[in-house]
Structure formats: structure tokens, C-alpha cells
């Protein structure tokens, strides 16, 4: 017998009020709210420096590789695993790119493709042991972390290698050029902002209409529009600010496309659904005809490719590859995913959560640096925030 049976509770279908809906979906909105509060705090504490166009651009550039890796890490964690090696892969792939372009004379395009493939291969090598050999991912990727940290040193001979061809640097330091030829104001950025707002509103209205037609529980009308208007304002304000500086960074576009892709893949595709099932109950998933081993393998391959991409972006941003590149990134990435509400036992977590988590970490890094807080206390504070966020989440889930 189970005391939590609900056989006889009939919840009458009624219109949910704002408050109830927010309560029920606290986990979805809670982190977003926390991010906004943190941003507001630093905006005030730094006398408005945080949201200056220049700093905003920096914030995006500094965070892009963490966000991109958080997408892959989310899948790994949802599948019930962990990847500690991503920081070392960033260093290794960055080093490889540097050697290929600077020492061996390859062009940026070939280099990029080759490096992403190498990232995937590294992921595959680790995924093989985890998926088919059942070695705990913690061990496999801990080994990978050491191996690739060492290989980076060996590859670069302990030296920094750079600078890179201009074409490659654009990956990180380039901006979407203004096709409207604005002077000091990038109309393209604003245009892209407005276009995305229209797209967002169009798709959410369509999906809401579809849900209403089929009697699915939806956000209350007012809340729905409040959310959309708020989102629209945020996007347009952001794009406007960016337009007054140099426009939208290339990296931002790559990042946005990836976020949309992964959010869609996890929410709406069969492969996404299967990864959640695998993490939720591997045995049941297997007995439902899901190829759990292959799926685990693929999440690691995917993680490897994204770590490779992050390695390229990071190297391009510094315009040099150093043996220390990527050191400790895995911690920021894993923290981002857990702050975003993923469960350490697998099966639970959202792409939007991981992205918000990454920005929580990023804004704190950036804000505390502006305030002149030393790297020592920055780490203390970040550690406490991680603990607080996850404790709150655990507490909420128990209720």
C-alpha cells in the first residue's frame, strides 16, 4: 500500500490563477527570477557598468563556451552520467587548432572541421568505456581529464602558440556586419532582435492556441502575455544596447542557434525523450526497446564535439593557445547544469535551466570582477551559490 495514492482525488478542471500556476511551475520560473535578481544587484552595485554595451558584449563572449558546453553536459547529466574531462578537451582542441594553423599551415576552415571531429572522437573514446564497458563515467572522464591535460602540454611543448589568422579570430571577436550601413549604430542587430521577438511571439501564440484547442493546461492568459512582453522587451533592449556598440557577436549567434536546437531536441524529439527515460530508469528504458548503450555513447560523442567547439572559441578569443587553457572549466559547466535544476541521479533537467545556470555563474564572475573582489572570494561565493541553489531545489522537490 502506498500512502501517496491519489485514486480518489479528483481535481476539478478549473482556471488556474497566476499564483497557482507560478507555484506549480516554480522550478521553471524560479531560476530565471534568481538570474534577474542577481543581474539587478550587480547592475546597482557596479553603478550600471554591468549592462553597458561593452561589458554586455564581454559577458556574452566570456560565457559562450560555458553555455555551449552546458548544453552537452545537460544531456550527459540527464542520462545519469558526468563528464569531468571537458576542460581538458577545451585545452587540447585549442592547442591542436593552434598547431594546425600556426605550425602546420592549415586553413581555418579545415582546422575547424578537423578539430570538431577530434572532439567527437575524444567523446567517442570515453563514451565507449562508459556505455559498452560500464566503467563509471566519473572514472573514465577523470582519466580523460588527466590524459588530455597531459597531451595538451605535450602537443604545445609547454609553450603558448599564436597568433591565429584573422579569419579564425573572427569566430570569437567578429560581429555580424551591418547590412544597412548605420554609423555608430548597428541596425542589423536591432533588426535581428525585432525579427526574433516576432518569431518568439508567433510560435508561442500558435502553440498556446493549439494547446487550448486540445484542452491542455496552459499558463493563464495574463501571465502568458506578461511573459511574452517581458521577454520581448528583454530581447529588444539587449539588441539595442548591442547595436550601440558593435552589433551582435558571431559567437552569440552560434550560441543562440545551438540553444534553440538543443531545447527543441530535448523537448520535442524522440531522441531527447529517450535520453530522459534512460536517465530516469535505465532498466525500464532498455526493456522498452531503447538502445541504452548507444544512446549513452552518443551523448558523450555530442559532449566531445561541443567541448571541441568551445575549445576553438576559447582559443580564438585569446588569440593564442596555452597549456593552461580550459583549466577548471568542467567545474563551471557542471555547476551551471546543477544550478539550472538538473538532478544528480539523472532523468531531470532542462536546456533553459542549464543556460540560465551558466549565466548565473557568468554574471557573478563578471560582476564580482568589476567590483574588484579577488579570485579567492569569488570562488567561495560561487561555491555557496551552487550549494544554495541545489539545496533550494531539493527542498522544493520534497514539498
Amino acid at each position: 500500500m502506498d500512502t501517496r495514492t491519489v485514486d480518489d482525488i479528483h481535481v476539478p478542471q478549473q482556471k488556474t490563477s497566476w499564483l497557482e500556476f507560478i507555484k506549480a511551475h516554480f522550478r521553471d520560473y524560479g531560476m530565471l527570477l534568481a538570474l534577474l535578481v542577481i543581474m539587478l544587484f550587480f547592475q546597482v552595485a557596479t553603478d550600471g557598468t554591468l549592462l553597458r554595451p561593452l561589458n554586455l558584449t564581454n559577458l556574452v563572449l566570456q560565457n559562450s563556451y560555458i553555455v555551449i558546453m552546458a548544453l552537452g553536459m545537460l544531456l550527459v547529466i540527464v542520462a545519469g552520467h558526468i563528464d569531468l574531462s571537458v576542460g581538458s578537451i577545451v585545452g587540447f582542441v585549442g592547442g591542436l587548432a593552434a598547431m594546425m594553423m600556426v605550425k602546420w599551415g592549415f586553413d581555418p576552415v579545415t582546422t575547424t572541421i578537423a578539430c570538431l571531429a577530434v572532439g567527437g572522437l575524444i567523446g567517442a573514446a570515453q563514451g565507449y568505456w562508459v556505455a559498452y564497458f560500464k566503467v563509471p563515467s566519473f572514472i573514465v572522464t577523470l582519466a580523460g581529464m588527466l590524459v588530455f591535460k597531459g597531451l595538451t602540454l605535450a602537443l604545445l611543448g609547454g609553450m603558448s602558440v599564436g597568433p591565429f589568422p584573422v579569419g579564425f579570430q573572427r569566430l570569437s571577436s567578429g560581429f555580424i556586419p551591418d547590412i544597412f550601413g548605420g554609423q555608430g549604430f548597428n541596425y542589423t542587430a536591432l533588426f535581428i532582435g525585432i525579427a526574433s521577438v516576432i518569431a518568439i511571439v508567433y510560435f508561442s501564440v500558435r502553440s498556446r492556441a493549439n494547446q487550448l484547442k486540445h484542452d491542455v493546461e496552459t499558463a493563464p492568459f495574463g501571465l502568458f502575455w506578461a511573459k511574452n512582453v517581458l521577454l520581448a522587451l528583454l530581447v529588444i533592449t539587449f539588441c539595442y544596447l548591442m547595436a550601440t556598440y558593435r552589433g551582435l557577436p558571431n559567437v552569440l549567434v552560434i550560441m543562440a542557434v545551438l540553444i534553440i536546437l538543443y531545447a527543441f531536441a530535448t523537448n520535442r524529439t524522440t531522441i531527447g525523450r529517450r535520453i530522459y527515460a534512460l536517465g530516469g530508469n535505465e532498466k525500464a528504458a532498455k526493456l522498452s526497446g531503447i538502445k541504452t548503450e548507444r544512446l549513452t555513447f552518443l551523448t558523450f560523442v555530442n559532449m566531445g564535439v561541443l567541448a571541441g567547439l568551445a575549445g576553438l572559441i576559447f582559443a580564438a578569443r585569446l588569440n593564442t593557445a596555452t597549456p593552461k587553457a580550459g583549466l577548471g572549466f568542467e567545474l563551471d559547466v557542471i555547476a551551471a547544469v546543477f544550478i539550472g535544476g538538473a538532478s544528480a541521479t539523472g532523468g531531470v533537467g532542462k536546456v533553459t535551466g542549464a543556460v540560465i545556470g551558466a549565466f548565473v555563474m557568468g554574471v557573478m564572475n563578471n560582476g564580482m570582477s568589476i567590483l574588484g573582489i579577488g579570485i579567492d572570494y569569488q570562488q567561495v561565493i560561487k561555491g555557496l551559490v551552487l550549494l544554495a541553489a541545489v539545496s533550494l531545489d531539493v527542498y522544493n522537490r520534497k514539498k
Binding site: T3, H214, V216, R268, T270, A284, A285, L287, G289
Partner: protein, 509 residues
Amino acid sequence: MNAILEMRGITKTFPGVKALDNVNITVKAGEIHALVGENGAGKSTLMKVLSGVYPHGSYSGEIIYEGQERRFKSISDSEELGIIIIHQELALVPLLSIAENIFLGNEQARFGVIDWSAVFSRTKELLKIVGLSESPETLVTNIGVGKQQLVEIAKALSKKVKLLILDEPTASLNEKDSNALLNLLLQFKAQGISSILISHKLNEITKVADSITVLRDGGTVETLDCHVGEISEDRIIRGMVGRTMEDRYPKRQTRIGETIFQVENWSAHHPLHSHVQVVKNVNLNIRRGEIVGIAGLMGAGRTEFAMSLFGRSYGQNISGQVRLHGKEIDVSSVEKAVANGIAYATEDRKTYGLILEEDIRKNITLANLEGVSKNLVIDDIRELAVANDYRGKMRIRSSNVFQEAVNLSGGNQQKVVLSKWLFSNPEILILDEPTRGIDVGAKYEIYTIINGLADAGKGVLMISSEMPELLGMCDRIYVMNEGAMIAELDVAEASQEKIMHAIVKSGRR
């Protein structure tokens, strides 16, 4: 006889649910008191109130034990007074020895140093009482569930038990182990230990109980005294469901067609010990619209056979042929088995059947995501329609399909598992213990669903340890023992005696 325990007017509410509503129960000293009721009736909640899992203050009403009102704040309070509860899910540490488990939390130690010789000699005494001949040093993981249950009881005895509470102790035991356990209870009774026995197995209750308290929907329905006239199982069921159960098995007009499914010379070996053959040259067939049962004792290899057949989910060195409509089919992976029209609903819903943290909808479509998606993209609306359809058809009681599986009762969880497999549109359904741990009312619904499958022209293979269930539901029964099919009986000629006879005879060979 005076009462050892009296619980008066116990009411316990959880957010949104009144789990117990003014429940009264009186246990006399030295009796076996059975507590029965459908799943969700409040039996376990009541026992948690009694043992202090729900501390005083979280419920209303009073507990009078040994003549005094008690206010337990935690389990240790009640244990101190000799109230020991043995939960359905055993609380043993698999990789510790029997002796270590028995004295876990109650170590025989001086200044934190364990006196091992005292531990072992005490353990030996206790094991002798419960009738176990295992060495105290044996790891718990290496003994069967039946024996583990006895270790739990030995553990209770080590704590000077006065009132022993057993929650579904025989749920996963075979007939022999169950009998041993019930006899042990009778022995304790002779020594003056009272027990409360929670069970779905009414035949066991009528065998040993002195009184029976029936709970329904969180309230006490009645207390029956077994010494005043004969209490029949039907009488108890009437109290539990609040209506007479005319027939425990729904009637069915059987229309059996041609043979659609054949298994030939199926063999499988143990996954770790490759020399042990667990399934031995099994031959079996199922006809259209037929419900075929597999009877056998626990450990006969029935689940192993079914799982090795279903995508080689169990064992190694598997050989044999499977034919559907006379054509050999590939069942070498779960995916292929499902694609070829085979479904297997597991005996262990929580471990192998459900993603507990996911909602009903996602559990139902899991085995056939292609059925609700196009080019790998899931059609939310269609998926929801499918889930709602099954929720209605199978009468899954929940507020909606977004409820997580973990919050459903056993019967409703089983309906979700069945929905999942029905949606994969199989020709052959293998149902492994489809009504295990499910209350009487929900059982009837599950039986109706199974009959409906047969009527729809599917072949059903039903594995069950409850012989009356097989006799009531099946058209034909295979008997399995020690990995081999030892008999095949038409239901018209089958009886519990015949099945047991076949098993005993094959065991002697």
C-alpha cells in the same frame, strides 16, 4: 484476554488527502491480528502512525499500548517498547553478513568495540528459532528473499519484540516459504508475542488470524473474530470492497483460432555462470485469442524464460526459434522483439516497468514513440490524445495524464505499464505476475483488460504464482519446474492439486 494495543480515533491527513479517518483497532495480547484492505485503504499509514514514523502530533487520536497512552516521536521510541515493524521492502544491507544485519544499529559492543563471538552465538540462537541453517557469516545478498524475510524476523526477535508488525511478508515468497513463515507466527503466538499481519493473501489470513480488521478508504469497516464461526474469504472481500464479489474472474467467451506463436527448443544460460542452464529446451505455443498460463514455483525459471525470449534481456548462450504466424522472427534485441509484435510486461513494475519520475503520458508512449512522432519530432497533441485515450480505456485513476507514475497506486501503475505495451500494438503479450501487489478491485479490472486482449485476437502468455488466478483466467496452463516445461494442462482438466503434483513428480526425478 486484555488488549496489548488500542488505537482510538486515528485520523491522519496529507495535503489534499485524508489517509486515515477515525480508525479504531484493538489488538489482544498474544493474538495474530490481520489487517486487510485494498491498496490505498490506509493499512501502511496506520502502521507508520503506530511505529512512530509519523510522530505524535502529526495525527490525531490516541495510541494505548500496554495500558498507557504513548506518544512516539520516532521509530526508536516504539522499538524500545517492543513494537517492531517489518516493512514490505526489506531493510537489509545486501553486502553485510546475516549477523551484521541482525545487530545493525544494536551492535553487541563495549565502548564501540564489537564482541564478535557474542554476535555470532546470539545470531546462531536466533537463526535456530526462525528455522534457518545458514551460517551467520553468509552475506544477505547470497540468500533468497524467503530467507531474507526470516533474517528480518530474527532481527526483530533480537530486540525483545512484544508486538510484531509484518507488512505483506509473503508477497514475494513461494508457497513453502510462506507456510514456514506463517508457522513461525503461530509459534510466536504460543510464546505470547502478538502480531499484526498485513496481507493480500486471504487464504493465509484465514489460516492463521485470530481477528481481522478490515479497512476501506481510510476508515475501519469492521473487525471480525475468527473464533466465532468460519470466516470465508468471500466474507472478507465483501468487507474490503464494500460489495459482494460474485466472481473473482470475469467471464469470457473464448474463441480460439489457429496457432500464431511458437517457441521451439528455447534454452538460456545463467548470465554469470555460463555452465548453469536456466531455461531448458522449452517448447510452447499460443493460439489466436488464447490465454496461456505458466505455473511454477518461485525460481522455476519462468521470468528468466520470458525475459530471454524478449530481446535476450536475460542470460547468455540463448538458442531456439520463435515463430509468429509460422514465420521465424528475430527477437535478438528488445527493439526487434517489439517490432515483431511481442511485448513483455514485467513482474517488477518499479524497477523494470516504469520511469517513476515521468508522467503517465510519457510512460505510455515510451515503447512506441514512433507512433506519436514524425521524422523524430514528437507530436505533443497526438501523444496527449493517445495518453488520454488509454487513461480512459484502462480506467487509470489520476487527476490527469501529467501525474507522475510514482504517485499512482500499484493497480494504476500496472495499468500504465499495460497501456504502454498495448500502444506498441503487439500480437503476443507476455504478462509476468500482472496482479502482484494489487488489490482485489483493481485485479478484477486487470483481468477484464486481459480478457479484452484475448477477445481482440491477441495471444496472451500469463505467468503467475497464484494458481487460482491461472485456473480462473487461462485456457491452457503449462507447468514449469527447474527450467523445463514439465506439463501442459487444459484448464478443464487442471487443478491446483494436479499442478502441484506435476511439480513434485518432476522434482523427484
